[in-house]
């Protein structure tokens, strides 16, 4: 029974998770190391990597600041409409990526609400870098906030109150007490946010316009290469994203392991008898 169940679970995970990873590397290296590196050495691919990094470098910090602000307001204060606010923060998770991209086309596209206004000023958002950044920001809004909110709610506000009662200012309490208490959840949220920012496909696909070397991010470039039957370069670039994903998983589990260990420490100290003061 036990080995049968284990075997079935391992087979399922092997088929669904491990095999796809193996295929990526097998195809990427099917023409050896030289094929792999040649696949990445193309200038369009280089531009795609650069654009992907730009989108992440802008959207991740924006959502870190947002996540910290939202978590502070929600976890440290009582106000009406709080659970509605939490639902709204999670909304981008429920919006299909295609629809997410489409929202920005409707706002800023040629036929969009601000289309004429933008065209008159010779500004482009859709089919240009700003649109890609916007779409990436939208799909990554919840990541940091949703890691921080439950943790900060559970921590309460006693430590911050203690800091204030000892004379600390608001920012001092935030940087010296709050941040150290949430740092691992923050890192966790950031790596998940980053993984999504680097890997977003649907939303970015709608607003990008697929101009090679200009508005193609890594996932879009993979699509182009794949559709042109350039399998080795497509999988070579995919393998970079796979490495990013695996690194994300390793970091995530390392953080979980760390926090589990520090939790186990709490309350383990012996209650030792004390002598009265001399």
């Amino acid at each position: 029974m036990r080995w049968g169940l284990t075997g079935a679970a391992v087979a399922f995970l092997g088929l669904m998770l491990i095999l796809p990873l193996v295929v990526v590397f097998a195809t990427a290296f099917s023409k050896g190391w030289s094929g792999f590196s040649a696949g990445l050495a193309d200038s369009d691919s280089f531009a795609a990597v650069k654009l992907t990094l730009i989108a992440a470098v802008i959207s991740v910090p924006l959502n870190i600041i947002f996540g910290l602000a939202a978590a502070w307001a929600i976890a440290k204060f009582e106000f009406r409409g709080k659970s509605l606010l939490i639902t709204v923060i999670d909304l981008p998770f429920s919006v299909s990526p295609i629809i997410a991209g489409m929202l920005f086309v409707l706002l800023f596209g040629a036929q969009g609400w601000l289309g004429d206004w933008l065209a008159a000023r010779n500004m482009r958002i859709i089919f240009a870098v700003p649109g890609i950044v916007l779409a990436t920001v939208f799909v990554t809004v919840p990541f940091v906030a949703r890691e921080l909110i439950p943790l900060m709610q559970a921590q309460g506000r006693e430590e911050e109150e203690a800091a204030l009662s000892l004379g600390a200012g608001g920012w001092q309490a935030f940087f010296r007490v709050t941040i150290p208490n949430i740092k691992w959840a923050l890192v966790y949220g950031v790596i998940l946010c980053n993984a999504r920012a680097l890997g977003e496909f649907g939303a970015v696909s709608v607003v990008s316009g697929h101009i090679q070397g200009v508005t193609n991010t890594m996932p879009l470039q993979i699509e182009v290469l794949y559709n042109e039957y350039k399998f080795v370069p497509a999988f070579a670039m995919a393998s970079l994203l796979v490495l990013m994903a695996l690194l994300t998983l390793v970091l995530k589990h390392w953080i979980e392991w760390r926090s589990a260990r520090s939790l186990a420490q709490i309350g383990s100290g012996p209650d030792r008898a004390i002598a009265p003061p001399r």
């Binding site: 036990r2 169940l5 679970a9 399922f12 995970l13 669904m16 998770l17 095999l19 796809p20 990873l21 295929v23 947002f66 602000a69 939202a70 502070w72 307001a73 929600i74 440290k76 204060f77 106000f79 606010l85 639902t87 709204v88 909304l91 429920s94 919006v95 299909s96 990526p97 295609i98 629809i99 489409m102 929202l103 086309v105 409707l106 706002l107 036929q111 916007l134 809004v141 506000r157 109150e161 204030l164 998940l192 993984a195 680097l198 890997g199 496909f201 649907g202 696909s205 709608v206 996932p219 699509e223 794949y226 999988f235 995919a238 796979v242 994903a245 695996l246 994300t248 998983l249 995530k252």
Partner: protein, 275 residues
């Protein structure tokens, strides 16, 4: 909101709450409102013909049907996986446990091309299936496979902590009262994990509904055969048929919001069970 401030010595409520609302307004709410305002510019009849066109109807049916099958597959295998990961110790368990989150971290386009390469007629698995006369890629089955992949973590990750918290003593108590193993599982364990299982199922279903990146490669995108709703929206957009795209998007968004409600209710239920 002034009361929140008065009862609290911590600073920064105005700043953080104001920033949160402004940011959400600009990035999330205004764009979403645009979508609904766009739809409002259609007459009811125009809207109705667009959203009930044959091609659109087929796309909803396919998307919803495939999402349901994928969610059910994950309910079965997710429960199994969670059980095995919590109850058994075997070499490689830690790595498998970590890998369960892979679909959260792996870009969907990468999943898409890799699944397509695997299940295409010439692929490692596709060739095998073809011998039994089963076509996976470029067929509805491929869509289900991609959806199973992207929504795989949900059931495992909602059921796993509940199973881990489940007191083994309760099972021992059932056994001491004369229950056989199967009776214990069916009457003691299963009811305890049911709320979280349903939550995971709903989350997986919701995730599959909106999935695009991993499906677009493997499905073949044939209208009336393997065209999912997300893809139909994109096609309409690329034809500059904004009205058509908007109408279908509103239907899909409505479905997603209904799922948020269902999931909230289910989560409230599982929390109640946990207390």
């Amino acid at each position: 909101m002034s009361r929140a401030k008065k009862n609290n010595v911590l600073p920064g409520f105005g700043l953080t709450c104001g920033y949160t609302l402004t940011y959400l307004g600009l990035v999330v709410l205004i764009p979403l409102a645009t979508l609904f305002l766009r739809t409002a510019s259609l007459t009811w009849e125009q809207f109705w013909t667009t959203v009930t066109g044959d091609r659109a109807l087929f796309a909803y049916k396919l998307t919803i049907g495939a999402s349901m099958i994928a969610a059910l597959v994950n309910a079965v295998f997710g429960l199994l996986t969670a059980w095995v990961l919590v109850r058994y110790r075997f070499p490689g368990r830690g790595i498998l446990d970590a890998l369960v989150d892979l679909p959260f971290a792996l870009p969907t386009a990468v999943a898409g091309i890799s699944l397509c390469a695997l299940y295409a007629p010439g692929g490692w698995v596709g060739a095998l299936l073809q011998r039994f006369g089963v076509q996976a890629a470029y067929a509805p089955l491929g869509i289900v496979i991609a959806m199973v992949f992207v929504s795989l973590p949900f059931v495992v990750r909602t059921v796993q902590p509940v199973l881990a918290d489940l007191d083994q003593e309760v099972e021992e108590a059932a056994a001491s009262l004369g229950a056989r193993r199967w009776q214990t599982l069916r009457r003691v364990v299963f009811p305890a994990v049911l709320p979280s299982l349903l939550t995971g199922l709903a989350l997986a279903f919701g995730r599959s509904l909106g999935e695009f990146g991993s499906i677009v490669f493997i499905s073949g995108n044939m209208p009336g055969r393997t065209e999912i709703a997300s893809l139909l929206i994109l096609t309409r957009l690329e034809e500059f048929d904004y009205a058509g795209a908007t109408a279908i998007a509103v239907v899909m968004l409505g479905l997603s919001f209904a799922m948020i409600f269902v999931i909230n209710v289910l989560q409230a239920w599982s929390r109640r069970g946990a207390d």
